[in-house]
Amino acid sequence: MAAMTRRLLSICLLAIVILTGTAAIAAIEVQDFEDPALMQRYEDLTTRLRCPKCQNESIGASNSPIAADMRERVAALLRNGQSDRQIENAMVSRFGDYALYDPRLDARTWLLWGLPFGLLAIGAGVVAGFVLRRRRRDGRESASAVLDEHERRRLEALISRHDAGSHGRRNDGGAP
């Protein structure tokens, strides 16, 4: 019984594999363009468009029938002289924004595109903050002429040696 169920299961799996092309067979087919620029655009577009049926593959990489249809349509539209944008629109109007690996900047995606730059700006602010704070403090310090660079370094060395030493004492009899 169990064997039977498993047999059925593997047949179903096989069907899924064949229908959706999730198995690792890269799409290999022969598309010919006279114009190398067109060929280049075809390759770019087929990596930018997502196969709607597959797990996570571009239509260029997927072997599923729908990806093959989409590739064919991309090639036909390219030969018709349509722009990349028009071709993307054609796919989006049928398969939704999901079909674009390169999400367009809109009200939903400004955070996606903007956050990295925002964080970089904040980061620049942090660096500036550190440096300027030191400048202010240095200004104060040199006014009162407490320690010069060399002296401060020595002081730090002494302090950390003291730290290390006190650790050492605490450590005595530490591990078994």
Partner: protein
Amino acid sequence: MLIRTLPELGHFALILALAMAVLQAIVPLWGAATRRPLWMAFAQPMAWGQFLFLVFAYLSLTASFALDDFSVAYVANNSNSLLPWYYKLSAVWGSHEGSVLLWVLILSGWSFAVSLFSQRLPRDMLARVLGVMGWISSGFLLFILLTSNPFERLLPDVPTDGADLNPLLQDFGLIVHPPMLYMGYVGFSVVFAFAMAALLGGRLDAAWTRWARPWTNVAWAFLTMGIALGSWWAYYELGWGGWWFWDPVENASLLPWLAGTALIHSLAVTEKRGTFKNWTVLLAIFTFSLSLLGTFLVRSGVLSSVHAFANDPSRGTFILALLGVTVGLSLAIFALRAPRVQSLAGFGWLSRDSLLLINNIVLVVMTVTVLLGTIYPLLLDALGLGKISVGPPYFNALFVPLTALLCLFMGLGPLARWKRMPGRELARRLGGAAIVAMVVAAVLPLLYGGSFSLGVTLGLLLALWLALSLARDIVDKTRRGRLGGLKKLTLAYWGMVLGHLGLAVTIVGVAMVSHYNIERNVRLAPGQHVEVGGYQFAMTDFRERSGPNYTADTATIEVTRPGRASFTMQPEKRFYVASGMPMTDVALRPGLFSDLYVALGEKLDNGDWSLRIQLKPFVRWLWLGALMMAAGGILAVIDRRYRRVPRRSAAVRTHESIPPGAGARGDIS
């Protein structure tokens, strides 16, 4: 007879390991809080016992695979009597349950290693570190026992044979990639535990960073190797010659790597300068959290990926709970216990401090970018805003400029001094490197590819800038004799050099293979030939053959190039009998400067076969660079500076007047 009960014994060992993990989680921490030496001393025996039982559990599952015990459901689903023995042994981690077992085994292995090599740590510190690791271990052991038991039996209907291991996984890659990756993922638990122990103990000084640095480096090196192996595996296994797809599962491994890279540098600053203390603790928490998050993303099915595990919602909920508790608790402890006092040490615009800060900022922005891109579709979906995809074009668009920024400052970093570095001196020492890098980067693509390419030029520029500035630093350091020649340069310094050079090598690989890749889909029949990129590919033979658990169509392609000896390549299309899955088996001719890559496609209407032929220049450099980075990480650990505390007697060292914390020497790694 005893052998028949191995799965039950393994299950029992898991339960015992859980009991020990729980004790390890509670008793030492309680002991540290109440200063009871005996309770603290509990940590080590528990860690050892836990490790022992997990090794036993792991071996009993392995034995079930080796003995073809298909009454064990996990074995029946992931093995087959025809499977070669080495895949049987690695099929243990070929699917969810067994790979979690490997995860926990490695975690307890790290605990064991910590308890072994950190005998000279303060007792309360060691107790807390192991206690924290006990918590993590308890969580994952509970996860296995409650949701993912690999020892479950199929009784009484024992199948006569197994369903076979997924053919995609029947490869050398399966043997090496997951263990390496998990060593890295899980290894970050050690630095996490050190950070938590420092927070709990209220001793957030530079000491914990010093103890944690070697562990972090080793984990990072493993993760680097793991990612590189994964990329290499995908490259030859999936049949279309890609080496990085920005797939959620790949991103899940890149996230802790990026954060871990930032952490390695930030640990260095904290150890040497005593600054960025809170930040380093936070990064340690983040790095391990991202490991856990990756585990969640891969195993819960919230994202669609080409390499995801089969999922089960209850598992997803459990890992999310685990993630929530671990990270939530640690961040709460951080918020409560992190010192309020800001470190006073300041630095100038151009200083090693500021450059390392910039390095950290850029790496964190990279991490956030990957995280954002990976989960953004999920966020929008959860808000009911529709389904979008975020894929390679997004990540490439952001990663190229961010990497450029990173490398720009990375070239300056090793030469800059702590606190302040006169810009004029830096310019004098590096001006030559910058000019040479620019000229060579502009000219080399013309010579190699015959045309100017912005991408290649940028890649070469960055790589040369890194390499030349390092070379300049080495020359300066040895020539001036201040440090007395090459011999005086520490291993840690060489580790840094190797790591940075590794990145340069990887960048060259990325730039070259992305822009000079030649790919041609052709149709061929036996007796025909085709010309691609100066090579002639002739199909001389086509036959069927049968392997141990598959049948295959094999093409023999003779490759010739004027003036060179010819050779043959044999791409295959396999059909795995037990699982009924077809697979392409790529024929590869690797070379340091170019790979030939031939994949067999479909049989076409007229009996021809379609073939994908690719020339992949410098693709090996990607992984070579990663290898160098990992080696750099390890080299830095071998530096005896780290072994001095446990191994060397103090007397040997007394001549060194300045303790390492003061950072008088120029190296950081």
